[in-house]
Symmetry: C2
Subunit: 329 residues, 2 copies
C-alpha cells in the first residue's frame, strides 16, 4: 500500500509538503499543491487514517450500541445516525448488544479501546449502575430512548407519555369508555410512561381506571392473542396495545373468533411499524420519529465532541397520531 513517503519521493518534495497538500493547510503554493494532488490521484493514494488518528488523537468514528438491529425501531434509529455521520465524515462502529448486559459492558471497553470519538447507546436497562463503565471512560456519550435517572449525560427520546395521551384521547373522543390495555415489561420506561399517559387521560375524562383490564406482558404477538381473549371476556369496548406487534395478536384473535374490528371492538397500537398500514384492518397507531431520533442523537454527540464543555441536552421528540381503520373514524 502506497504511503505519503512514496508520494513525496515521486514529487521530489518533503513529506510535510505532501501532508500540507492533502490537508489543504496554508503555507503551500497553489502550483505544488495541485501537482501533488494529481500525483496522489494517479497513484491511487489513500491516506492511512490509523496513522492520522494516532497523532491527531481522534478516530472520526463513533460507536453505536443497540439492543437488536433486527428490530425495526432500532434499525431506523441506526439509519438516522448513519445518515448524519456520513454527512459529517464520521464512521459508525455498530455494536449489537443483543439485549444482554454483559455484551453492553464488553462493548463499552471495546469502544474505548478503539478510541472512538464518542458513542450513542440505546440501553437495555434503566439502572444507572449498569452504565458506570460507559460514563467513566470519559468518551462523549448520548443515551437514546430508555431513560436513566440521575445521569449527567445527553439524552434523546420519543415522548411516550404524550403519544399515548394523543391516542387515548382519540379513542375516548370516538366514544370508547372501557379501554383495556396490554402493557410491556414492568421495568420498561417506555411501557410505564405510556401507562401514565393512559391513566392521566382517563382521569381527565372522568373515567375510573379499572386495573382488572390492565395487563403487563412480554409485548409479543402471542401476548396479543392471549390478552385479547382475557380482555374481551371482561367486555372491554376497545384495546390499547403497547405496540403494533401486540395489536396484530389482538387482530388475529378477533379474526378467529369473529370479533369484527372496529365494529365490535376498537383497537390501537403503538410504533407505526411498516406493516401497520398494510394489514387487512389498517392499525390506528402512534408514529414515532425514529430516523429523526437517530439523526438528532448523532448531531448532539458530534456537537459535544467538538465543544467539550457544552451543557448536556435532554430532548424529547413528539410522536404523531396515525388514524387508520382499527378504531373506526
Amino acid at each position: 500500500m502506497i504511503g505519503i513517503k512514496d508520494i513525496a519521493k515521486e514529487c521530489n518534495v518533503a513529506v510535510s509538503t505532501v501532508s500540507r497538500a492533502l490537508n489543504n493547510s496554508t503555507g503551500i503554493s497553489q502550483k505544488t499543491k495541485e501537482y501533488i494532488l494529481r500525483v496522489c490521484e494517479e497513484k491511487g493514494y489513500q491516506p492511512n487514517s490509523v496513522a492520522r488518528s494516532l497523532i491527531l488523537n481522534e478516530t472520526n468514528m463513533i460507536g453505536l450500541v443497540v439492543p437488536d438491529i433486527t428490530n425495526q425501531y432500532y434499525a431506523f434509529i441506526s439509519k438516522g445516525v448513519s445518515a448524519y455521520l456520513e454527512k459529517r465524515g464520521y464512521g459508525l462502529l455498530l455494536c449489537n448488544s443483543d439485549r444482554n448486559k454483559a455484551n453492553e459492558l464488553m462493548y463499552s471497553t471495546f469502544l474505548t479501546s478503539k478510541r472512538v470519538d464518542g458513542a450513542i447507546v440505546i440501553p437495555i436497562s434503566s439502572d444507572k449502575d449498569d452504565y458506570k463503565s460507559f460514563i467513566k471512560t470519559n468518551t462523549p456519550l448520548v443515551f437514546v430512548d430508555n431513560y436513566i435517572a440521575d445521569l449527567d449525560v445527553s439524552f434523546i427520546t420519543n415522548d411516550n407519555y404524550s403519544g399515548t395521551r394523543k391516542i387515548i384521547q382519540h379513542m375516548i373522543r370516538l366514544g370508547y369508555k372501557r379501554i383495556g390495555v396490554i402493557l410491556g415489561d414492568k421495568n420498561s420506561s417506555a411501557s410505564n410512561d405510556r401507562f401514565r399517559g393512559y391513566t392521566d387521560v382517563l382521569k381527565n375524562s372522568g373515567i375510573d381506571r379499572d386495573d382488572s383490564i390492565v395487563f403487563n406482558s412480554m409485548a409479543t404477538f402471542a401476548d396479543g392473542v392471549k390478552y385479547a381473549k382475557f380482555l374481551i371476556e371482561k367486555s372491554v369496548d376497545a384495546i390499547f396495545a403497547i405496540n403494533d406487534t401486540v395489536a396484530m395478536g389482538v387482530l388475529k384473535y378477533c379474526h378467529e373468533n369473529s370479533v369484527e374490528i372496529p365494529r365490535d371492538l376498537g383497537l390501537a397500537g403503538y410504533d407505526d411499524i411498516e406493516q401497520a398500514g398494510m394489514l387487512h384492518i389498517p392499525l390506528t397507531t402512534v408514529h414515532q420519529r425514529k430516523f429523526a431520533l437517530g439523526e438528532k442523537a448523532a448531531e448532539v454527540l458530534i456537537n459535544e465532541i467538538k465543544n467539550p464543555y457544552t451543557v448536556k441536552q435532554k430532548i424529547i421528540l413528539q410522536p404523531k397520531l396515525i388514524v387508520r381503520k382499527s378504531c373506526g373514524e
Copy 2:
C-alpha cells in the same frame, strides 16, 4: 488517558516488559507478568488499539456495506455478521449505502482509508464495473446476496431458484394450475432466479407458462394490491408474490373484494418476514437463512484474512418452505 508508559513507570519496568505482559508473549516471568496485569487492572488501563493497529498493520475491524439497514432481510444478515465478528474479536464498521451507487463508491474509499482488514458487501447492482474500486483496494472481500458474474471474489447467497421451485411445486401439488406471478425488478438477480424456478417447475409439470399472468413490479405493497386485481381478472387460481410485502398487498385487495384466501385463491409469498405468520391469513412462504448467511459471510471473510491465498468460495444456502394457511393445506 493512561498509557503503557505510565504502567511501566508505576511498575518500575520497561515498556517492552509491559507489552509482553499484555500480549502474553513468552520471555517474561510469571511473577512480573501477574504484577503488571494487576496494576493495569487497578489503573483501568485500556490498550490503545489505534497504536497497535499502526504497528501491526491490522485494525481488527471489518466493513459491512448494506443497501438498507431498515430492511429486515439485511438487518438479519448484519446481525449474523455482527455475532460472528464479536466472537472473533473484530469490530463492525457499518456502511448504509441507501441503495445508492455513489454511496457505495464513497464507502469503498472510506473503508480502505480506515484500513479495515476486510469487507462484506451486499451490492445493489449486478454490474461488475460498479465494483472495480472495491476489488482494486486489495482488501479481502466477500459479496453477499446479489450475484456479480466474472468476479474472483467469494460469494454467498440464498438459493432463490431452488426456494421458488419448492414453493411452486407445493402449490401444484395442492392442485393449483393457473398460478399468476408478481415479480420484482427486471434487473434483480433474485427476481430473475425466482422466475426461472417458477418457469422450470411449470415446464416439468406439463403446464404451459402464460406470460399474460406474469408481471414485473417494484415489489411494493401497493404493487401487490394493483396486480392482484389484474391477475384475478385473468382468473388465476393462485398467486405467487415475489416477497411477503407484495403478498400482503394481495391479501389486502382480496379482503376488500371478498375474495377468500385460500378458498377462492391460493397465495404464496417469499422471505418469511417476521409478520408473515402473524397475519389474519398466515402466509405460506419461503424462509431464507438470513442470520446464517451473515455468519457464514463473516466466517469466510475472516478465513481469507488469516489465509490470504486460499481459494475463493461460492456458497449457496438452501431456503426452506414454510407451509401456513394462505395456500390451504
